[in-house]
């Protein structure tokens, strides 16, 4: 690592702090402006049973967007709000959901104000931002980690899970993962299984398809920032697979590339463009086929597609909730790690050499009872009961249970000696 001061670091020492001051000044101005708006004033003194804590910038909004539906459902019986630290994020969320949005600057006095003004009973955390650590100091609240999508990433069994009162996990797979990794963590006592409540939200599909063709969703990931994370198949498999599927009248293709596809590697960018062209040409020659390039919000595709082709990525876990056939590609990068302990390790991955056989593989995946049964077993292991409404019910019951426990604890007569008051208030 280059650590000499030289020009780079010498400049950074001036530019970086100056950039941060500018950022701080803009943020401060925006906070002041938004706090005066009636949309924020309206909720400034309200109590909320449940807060979703989201201190991040808009780049991570995907982590909170997937919770709008379940939280809106929860808000029918409990007061729910989203707590933001960044004005820009707060404004976007406010436009996207009917839930109240609260804005705080996140300093110590601000968090005191959250406690005294809003008196939350449960705070939900969709990510592991270090900024969470401040508000985790509140002791009259149940703090629960809800993640932003099930996966076998090491992140999902990090040791810092211990800081939360509860981890709302998808199912048995998550509990086993935590048991393997964490010492001194009572998995049964500190986790609550909720499945994936997002699957119980009705998404409005922007397209309708007839049943003349089987719909194949091809949702590759991007090329990754590091070679050990180079799972993206657009350049290695994508062109061959898509052209083979487009040439087969049994299939309709929904191509949904990761938004970051091609930002690092030109060959991925070129392959992405070529696939889009192929789909345009196919659609022009037969509009009734219904092929499309999709950049709409994710959700409706789970219902619309019959089979998904993807890479080793989080979207495979979303698809698993459907228990429908799944085909995963083998990354051509040798250093890209394939976790043999995950359900993906149990699948036969498609190599780049086999890409031209994808119609045949898709057909087999749709009809082979062994493959269908295997997906159902994995689905049950990761998500438990996925019958309609089951996940949402478990999510709402988990919140109710935490509130009940919290109220029982807060309103009991605490046997605390008077002299302990000298230690000080419960700091945040």
């Amino acid at each position: 690592m280059e650590t000499r001061p030289g020009r780079g670091l010498g400049t950074a020492a001036v530019v970086e702090p100056a950039r941060r001051v500018g950022q701080w000044w803009r943020r401060r101005r925006e906070h002041s402006r938004l706090h005066k708006l009636p949309e924020y004033q309206l909720h400034s003194g309200r109590h909320f049973d449940v807060l979703l804590h989201f201190p991040d910038l808009p780049v991570n909004l995907y982590q909170v967007r997937q919770w709008y539906g379940p939280l809106e459902q929860l808000s029918r019986q409990r007061s729910v709000a989203i707590l933001c630290y960044e004005p820009e994020t707060a404004e976007i969320i406010r436009r996207e959901t009917s839930l109240p949005v609260l804005l705080t600057r996140g300093g110590l006095p601000d968090l005191e104000k959250v406690r005294t003004d809003h008196q939350p009973k449960v705070i939900l955390y969709p990510n592991q931002n270090y900024t969470n650590f401040g508000i985790l100091g509140l002791n009259t609240v149940q703090h629960a980690f809800i993640c932003h999508g099930e996966s076998d990433k090491i992140y999902m069994s990090s040791n810092w899970m211990k800081v939360f009162n509860y981890d709302l996990v998808a199912g048995q797979a998550a509990k086993d993962r935590l048991s393997r990794r964490l010492f001194g963590y009572d998995v049964e006592a500190r986790t609550i299984e909720i499945g994936r409540p997002q699957i119980d939200i009705e998404f409005q599909a922007p397209y309708t398809f007839d049943e003349s063709r089987k719909t194949v969703l091809y949702a590759p990931t991007w090329e990754g920032g590091r070679t050990s994370m180079r799972y993206g198949s657009v350049a290695s498999h994508g062109l061959t697979m898509v052209s083979s599927l487009l040439a087969d009248r049994r299939f309709r293709v929904i191509y949904r590339p990761h938004p970051r596809t091609g930002i690092l590697l030109p060959q991925h960018r070129a392959a992405d463009l070529r696939i889009r062209e192929l789909i345009d040409v196919a659609t022009a020659s037969d509009p009734s086929a219904g092929h499309l390039v999709d950049d709409t919000p994710f959700g409706w595709q789970l219902k619309a597609a019959d089979v998904m082709i993807t890479d080793i990525s989080a979207v495979a876990y979303d698809w698993l909730t459907t228990a429908k056939p799944l085909i995963v590609t083998q990354p051509i990068e040798p250093s890209a790690v394939v976790d043999q302990g995950s359900f993906i390790g149990d699948l036969r991955l498609v190599t780049a050499d086999e890409a031209h056989r994808i119609p045949e593989m898709a057909d087999r995946a749709l009809s082979d009872p062994e493959q269908i049964g295997r997906m159902r077993r994995w689905c049950a292991y990761y998500y438990g009961d996925t019958t309609p409404g089951a996940s949402m019910t478990r999510f709402i019951n988990a919140i109710e249970r935490m509130i009940e426990e919290r109220d029982g604890w807060v309103f009991q007569d605490h046997d605390v000696a008077d002299e302990l008051a000298a230690i000080g208030p419960v700091a945040v």
């Binding site: 690592m1 001036v14 701080w24 009259t140 800081v163 605390v416 302990l420 000080g424 419960v426």
Partner: protein, 274 residues
């Protein structure tokens, strides 16, 4: 049973700080952060290469790594524990991980224990991983503790300061740690009474000495910060004994877990967060 909220949970409006001092505190805090970042970016090249080289040397390893990502203004929170760390180093390797250039220099000048520099997450993880750390120690409630406490196969232990320093660390964030070494029974009682479903009987260990009866002079003394935690009432031998036991427990847990998983044909990826 009386149904009321504990008196400590909510602060009345009258008690809240007024707006002007809050703004002043915020401005000062930003100025402090600006200065700190600027100093670190300008001077980290003076300490980082040496720190990385020593961490990379396979001859260097540690059982205990004290994590101090905080600013130099709070460095006495760390130096107060140095006598205990020196005592501990007679029995097991001990090292210190510091996240600020000025704090690094201040700590290095105070102790012969090996100091390492880790300002950003990747550097801190590199040091902890290379040194094959078994137990990570924390002396304050820095929010960056959440970063280091994510490391697997390490037991994370919070060293609770005695005296007036208690109000800085007694809070709900203590759930993060595998063990809390509390200086007195009052702290343990506070945790038992004011943290929901927190099992103090297995998590909190008392490592303090009996405090002499309070008189006017000792009362005054209690409000002043002692030079080190031993002077303030921590039993250094008790801390060392507890930490060595925790290290042995960690070794046992890792061995048993790996053997259990090997029987199931599972090999965990190791190192840092992995």
């Amino acid at each position: 049973m009386v149904a009321h909220q504990p008196d400590v949970t909510l602060r009345s409006r009258a008690e809240r700080p007024t707006v002007a001092p809050i703004r002043l505190r915020r401005a000062l805090e930003y100025a402090r952060r600006y200065h700190r970042l600027s100093v670190n970016l300008r001077h980290q090249h003076l300490v980082l290469p040496d720190s990385r080289a020593r961490a990379a040397d396979p001859a260097n390893h540690t059982h205990f790594l004290i994590n101090f990502p905080g600013s130099p203004s709070g460095v006495d929170e760390l130096t107060a524990w140095l006598p205990m760390l020196h005592r501990l180093s007679r029995w097991a390797p001990v090292a210190i991980l510091v996240g600020d250039v000025l704090a690094y220099r201040a700590v290095s000048a105070e102790t012969a224990l090996p100091c390492y520099f880790g300002r950003v997450a990747s550097e801190a993880e590199y040091v902890a991983q290379q040194l094959q750390t078994k137990v990570m120690l924390y002396v304050n409630q820095s929010k960056l503790n959440l970063r280091e406490a994510g490391f697997h196969d390490i037991l994370h232990v919070f060293l609770g300061a005695p005296g007036p320093g208690r109000q800085n660390w007694l809070n709900n964030r203590l759930r993060l740690y595998d063990y809390v070494l509390a200086p007195d029974d009052e702290s343990k009682a506070w945790l038992a009474a004011r943290m929901m479903a927190y099992d103090v009987s297995t998590t909190v260990r008392i490592v303090g000495r009996p405090v002499p009866p309070a008189g006017p002079l000792s009362g005054l003394g209690a409000r002043l910060r002692a030079a080190d935690v031993a002077e303030a009432g921590v039993d250094v031998d008790a801390v060392v004994e507890e930490l060595l036991q925790i290290r042995d427990e960690r070794d046992r847990l890792v061995t048993e877990r790996d053997a259990r998983l090997a029987e199931q044909g599972i090999v965990l990826l190791k190192g840092g967060q992995a």
